[in-house]
Amino acid sequence: MAKRVGIEVSIAVAEAVKLADVDLVAAYPITPQTHIVEHLSEDVANGKLDAEFVPVESEHSAMSCCCGSSAAGARTFTASSSQGLSLMSEILYIPSTMRLPIVMVVANRALSAPISIWNDHQDIMVQRDIGWIQTFAENGQEAFDLTLHAFRVAEDRRVSLPMIVNIDGFTLSHVIEPIEILDQEEVNRYLPPFKPRYRLDPKKPITMGPVGIPEVYTEAKVAHDQALKASKKVILKAWDEFAELFGRRYQPVETYRSEDAETLLVTMGSISETAMTAVDAMREKGQKVGLVRIRLWRPFPAQEFRKAAGKAKVLAVIDRCLPPGAPCGPVGEDLRAVFYKVPGAPKIFSFVAGLGGRDVTVETFEEIVEKAQAKARKRPRELYEVIGVREK
């Protein structure tokens, strides 16, 4: 039976990985991801998890080691953050086109310079196009549930793609809160053993990672893109089944008090909960404000998003990332593309907030809504605005 416990979110994630009975964890320490892999190495040391914990000498090697492990046919996990994720970057593009279903939890954190250990989404936005399936967790329960979901989806033979679960560093990873931890029997019912389509085996030798000449490179990349898009069906199915088994339902795009809303906040990750409180406060003041939360970031659920947000007049998108020189923040850009030439589409404004651990509060959301409504009344020159930046 599932057990409701007060537990640090990182440790709950580690519990999920342990319940998934992974074969290999390769990780390098970086704040704020460390608690996850520390806990896993402890489980391995105490015989609670029968796996190889490979304490690699860098994140680059962590991901490389995971590629080898997954190619060998093992259930494989790693976690990372920030600079570490950037150091992995070269390798991240490889297991996705090679269809190696590694699962990674990223405790999202800012990028240097200046060095910052605190939370935002810059690290993962840099890795937007690595071709992994990506979800964002709002709270500890989701972090736990989505980690199990990630193994289930990634390793599905129709999918066979690596998957990232994003959890906000510190503001989620280091919080102790009530989380329902499923037991082994429940997890076994949801997560079948990993049966790879291909594995490195001298009895049936294959070549993985050959040279792609111009005549095949495009086809290889399109095959990957198509597989990523097609994965959505499996993602949804796996969420449906999760709901049937354990009662918690997840959707690629979720709304909060959005039905009659004229202005919709758009969030990803743990600020969504604060945003709900902000929506309640604004509703109390009679404002028609709602919230749309993106849970599935890649493949982007464009259709679901249009359905969830299409009736609003204004979308106030919170980008946890400042893209220097770009017309707009990355989430804002995607949404503009999603609504391009859609009749009656909402006006979309991007607000850069919560960089490098700057707190995102109820007041922040109130300010954003006010600014978005003001921008909607005129033609703003900038498509994004940095919230809470001091001028002097």
Partner: protein
């Protein structure tokens, strides 16, 4: 001594394996000494091996999609990470065998890289994998420059050699640093087996590779691999240069077994280095004083290893 090695009888000209785990039709240059070395490596290992290859000539020429020259399972991820990838394969198989997910049958795990992939960009991954004690062998096929990208200098390019990024000019005589000693770095990790080898001495090479596979834990074999394209030498002379490098003491053949140095070939009457330089365009510009300096240092390096072999 290492029990696995004591049982090993060794290859002789009488029992050389006929099987070719690496298929013909690969796209290596005419007279490639590196693919020749690799062919010998694979003959020694047989087919019960998983190969993790770094980016480089050997990777490019053996895996032109939709074809492959590999008759064994082979994996290429990137340039600098062959050792890390191999460590993942090794550790994953260990866990899966323990958990009954795959048969408990031993399979050799080999990481393969050129000198750049091994000693420059991949040194950290190599060091990490050796330090962690994975049961694998690392084979470096050293052709002394970045040949795949068009002959740029590496840390393993020999002193004085001309490459496209160590050109001799009015202010330069070519590579101005001495060849980086990767086998010594490997040995400094305290791993059970380190060796140097040359395809000219093919039995020695194959026996060392087999020993490296047999020992438990990390093993490292550094193989001298002539590159006619990069060196500006005649293709038919590749084996000859591989032999001359040994016979001039430029590339001494030795093993380091559990820290003990053993000279595989005592070169008591060395040929002068000029004999090795002749016929290689990369050394053509060298002047007498530079050659004299190289000769002195080559002798000193050889003596150093010979002394290590005497004391250990």
């Amino acid at each position: 001594m290492i029990p696995e090695l004591e049982k090993f009888k060794g290859f002789t000209v009488k029992n050389l394996p006929k099987d070719e785990p690496l298929a013909p039709g690969h796209r290596a240059c005419q007279g490639c000494g590196e693919v020749l070395a690799l062919r010998m490596v694979m003959k020694a290992l047989g087919r019960n091996v998983i190969v993790c290859s770094a980016t480089g000539c050997m990777e490019i020429i053996t895996s032109p999609y939709p074809q492959t020259a590999w008759r064994v399972p082979w994996l290429h991820i990137a340039f600098e990470n062959a050792a890390a990838v191999a460590s993942g394969v090794e550790a994953a198989r260990k866990a899966m065998a323990r958990k009954g997910k795959i048969p408990k049958r031993h399979v050799d795990i080999m990481a393969l890289g050129g000198d750049g992939a091994t000693g420059d960009i991949g040194l950290q991954a190599l060091s990490g994998a050796m330090e962690r004690g994975h049961d694998f062998l690392y084979v470096c096929v050293d052709n002394e420059a970045y040949m795949n990208t068009g002959v740029q200098r590496s840390g393993c390019t020999p002193y004085g050699a001309m490459t496209t990024t160590s050109p001799p000019g009015t202010e330069s005589f070519g590579q101005y640093t001495w060849k980086k000693n990767i086998p010594a770095i490997a040995a400094a990790h305290g791993i059970p087996y380190v060796a140097t080898a040359s395809p000219a001495y093919f039995l020695d090479l194959m026996n060392k590779v087999k020993k490296a596979a047999l020992v438990k834990g990390p093993a490292y074999v550094h193989i001298f691999s002539p590159c006619p394209t990069g060196w500006g030498s005649a293709g038919e002379r590749s084996v000859e240069f591989a032999k001359l490098a040994v016979d001039t003491r430029i590339f001494p053949l030795y093993e380091v077994i559990e820290g003990k140095y053993i000279l595989s070939r005592k070169i008591s009457k060395p040929k002068p280095v000029t004999e090795y330089f002749k016929g290689q365009r990369r050394f053509r510009h060298l002047k007498d004083d530079q050659i004299a300096y190289i000769q002195r240092r080559v002798d000193a390096e050889y003596e150093r290893i010979a002394r290590l072999a005497e004391v250990s």
